[in-house]
């Protein structure tokens, strides 16, 4: 069914990427051992001056944010009743669930005493944003697992529980949207408490809204990317009739977000610090150009929106820009007040990259074992590892 040329290519690539994956896993195990035997100081570049680094900025903020496609798409299909998007709901929910699992695993590394992660259940402090985030992440991960469970039930032929969950889908989706709204915005609220530390290019009383809307924009970008990747697995064309309207939604979300950001910067009187072109100004321009301006401008043209390459490219830019924004809020914007530069250690990066790779491996396994795509389980002939290449590490 495949041309011989393609087949030769495939026989080579999985081997290479499997080797990369194996090396990563070994390195990950070594770092894990060091982390838990010698403490955070031995493996990270964190310090008393800079207590939150890559594991919060990338793993937590981006992991949760990029999983926003799940609540956006379930709302579109089940609440707004746009049933034609149904074929891409399952992979989105799976990605969302894996994203949250990734976040929780990363937290087990970042927390000083991760075996106490359940303390948030018994010791309450409703004044703490972190407390709210902890509860929402806990509950929403459960919601995603329940939303995905019919797929597992069907696989084993248990139709009664699958039907039961289907009957609950509307309240489940509403609960999921509420929880997501709360904690997507709360990740921004985390930084409301540091008006004297976070650079005015990023600090704003509107941070919760910025985080929420940008997560919707980048979450849609992730859905487009995922569709592209899964289409590659099936050697089919992109479902442009579904993705083109999603891209329009992305333009609206990112457009509103961009205007809100500019308004906040104007209110803080910080346009001067962009024009000064210093460290913060340059990082802001980078983030804003690739994450907002380029995707919004490109996707405003119908001709580009209906062209698969431009569509996927723009979605990729939106996701990259989103990651840049979260890293800027959590790292770049905090450095001046801390008086130090923070660059993550190699071991911090290994943990983050290895967790992303493991998430992708689980995804690749799941699409072969379960009916994730409307076409059914991926046959082993069309190898999912082909989709692992590091070109898209954010897709967990």
């Amino acid at each position: 069914m495949n041309t011989p040329l393609v087949r030769t290519q495939r026989r080579f690539r999985p081997g290479f990427w499997t080797a990369v994956f194996a090396v990563l896993v070994v390195a990950f195990c070594v770092v894990t051992f060091l982390r838990f035997s010698r403490g955070l100081g031995a493996v990270t570049h964190l310090s008393d001056s800079f207590p939150w680094g890559l594991w919060i900025g990338f793993d937590l903020l981006c992991g949760v944010g990029l999983a926003a496609g799940a609540f956006t798409l379930t709302a579109i299909v089940h609440l707004f009743n746009l049933k034609r998007f149904e074929p891409i709901v399952r992979p989105t929910i799976l990605t969302g669930f894996l994203g949250y699992a990734f976040v929780i695993l990363a937290l087990l590394f970042d927390l000083g005493q991760p075996w106490r992660i359940w303390h948030a259940i018994i010791y309450w402090n409703p004044h703490s944003v972190m407390f709210e985030v902890a509860w929402c992440v806990m509950l929403y991960t459960t919601v995603l697992a329940v939303e995905f469970s019919p797929v597992v039930f069907e696989r084993f032929g248990w139709h009664a529980p699958a039907r039961f969950i289907h009957g609950l889908i509307t309240p489940l989706v509403i609960l999921g949207v509420i929880l997501s709204t709360l904690h997507q915005s709360s990740l921004g609220s985390l930084y409301l408490i540091v008006p004297s530390k976070l650079h005015p290019l990023w600090y704003s009383p509107m941070l919760p809204l910025h985080f929420f809307i940008s997560a919707i924009g980048a979450g849609i970008g992730m859905v487009i990317l995922e569709s592209y990747l899964s289409r590659r697995a099936f050697h089919r064309h992109l479902e442009m009739d579904l993705l083109e309207p999603l891209a329009r939604g992305m333009v609206v979300a990112l457009g509103i977000y961009g205007l809100l950001r500019l308004e906040s910067i104007h209110r803080n009187g910080s346009f001067a610090s962009i024009l000064a072109f210093g460290y913060e100004g340059r990082m802001f321009l980078l983030e804003f150009t690739i994450g907002v301006i380029l995707p919004v401008v490109l996707m405003s043209f119908r001709r580009l929106r209906t062209h698969p390459d431009w569509l996927v490219g723009s979605a990729f830019l939106a996701v990259l820009g989103f990651v840049a924004n979260r890293l800027n809020v959590s790292i770049t914007g905090m450095e001046r007040a801390a008086g130090v530069r923070y660059i993550p250690s190699g071991m911090e990066i290994i943990v983050s990259v290895a967790l992303v790779a493991m998430g992708m491996a689980v995804f690749a396994f799941a699409v072969r074992f379960f009916d994730i795509f409307p076409e059914g389980a991926v046959q082993s002939a069309s190898r999912p590892p082909e989709r692992i290449p590091g070109s898209l590490p954010e897709s967990v």
Binding site: P51, G112, Y123, S128, V194, S196
Partner: protein, 253 residues
């Protein structure tokens, strides 16, 4: 009966007796370091020709207390902000959020906890002064009721206006602190932040968090409403399609 400390940089001779007494009182390992760490809760730094103490300011409305997800940090009625290491999971949000950068972490330990001055809370509860205040040979740090200390600080500024900067640090910073400082050198030159708002930072998040219950209710009703309308539209559309002659306009709204 909120207690506090008054630190006067014009009196401090930099002998370090306070830091040593603190180490002893709180059984902290190692020598006194130049900056505060998880093992050095207070230290004396020479700056601009004077000596300035570093220690937890013990805010009136502490940011660390508001951000801790498990309530490991608490403000006691006596004034000290205390830490319960048994609850702490190590998220380090207190370190991030503290406007004075006070809480420090045991980065070198596999089972780490936060370290910061707890204003000798057990001594204070017994009515005794803190170890640092008791050890100070020149009364550069004095212990007392916060209200009395404010009065004392203002008296010093009034009597010798040429000697002091006309500001009591800690009176309004971040909503006010139990530790107060007076100095002959502007505070920002001593490494003390001068850009702190007089509103406690904790209020900024509480304004958002306190609205959550209302928000959840309204959002849930709205989302269900959207679902009801779209589902109803589908039903109506089906009826229009099959039941010929029936006008669906009424059900469309």
């Amino acid at each position: 009966m909120s207690m506090g400390l008054l630190v006067d940089t014009t009196r401090c001779i930099g002998c370090g007796a306070c830091s040593s007494a603190c180490k002893e009182q709180n059984k902290l390992p190692g020598p006194v370091e130049e900056v505060t760490t998880a093992y050095t809760w207070t230290t004396v730094q020479p700056r601009e020709g004077v000596n300035v103490r570093r220690l937890c300011m013990h805010c009136e409305v502490p940011t660390c207390v508001s951000v801790c997800p498990v309530g490991a940090l608490q403000k006691t009625p006596e004034g000290p902000v205390v830490y319960d290491a048994k609850k702490c999971m190590g998220c380090r949000y207190c370190m991030m959020a503290c406007p004075f950068d006070v809480p420090k972490y045991q980065w070198d330990r596999p089972v780490p906890v936060v370290g910061k001055c707890i204003m000798c809370t057990s001594r204070v509860k017994e009515g005794k002064p803190t170890a640092c205040a008791e050890a100070c040979p020149v009364e550069a740090t004095v212990f007392g009721k916060r209200d009395d200390l404010i009065w004392e600080a203002r008296t010093r500024l009034r009597k010798e206006p040429e000697k002091y900067v006309n500001h009591v640090y800690g009176l309004t910073e971040a909503g006010g602190t139990s530790v107060l400082m007076v100095s002959s050198v502007p505070f920002d030159k001593l490494g003390l932040k001068s850009n702190l708002p007089s509103e406690p930072p904790a209020m900024r998040t509480w304004q958002v968090l306190s609205n959550i219950p209302d928000f959840v209710g309204v959002w849930a009703v709205f989302l269900y409403g959207v679902h009801w309308i779209t589902a109803r539209r589908e039903v109506v559309a089906k009826v229009e399609h099959h039941g010929n002659g029936r006008n669906g306009q009424g059900g469309r709204s």
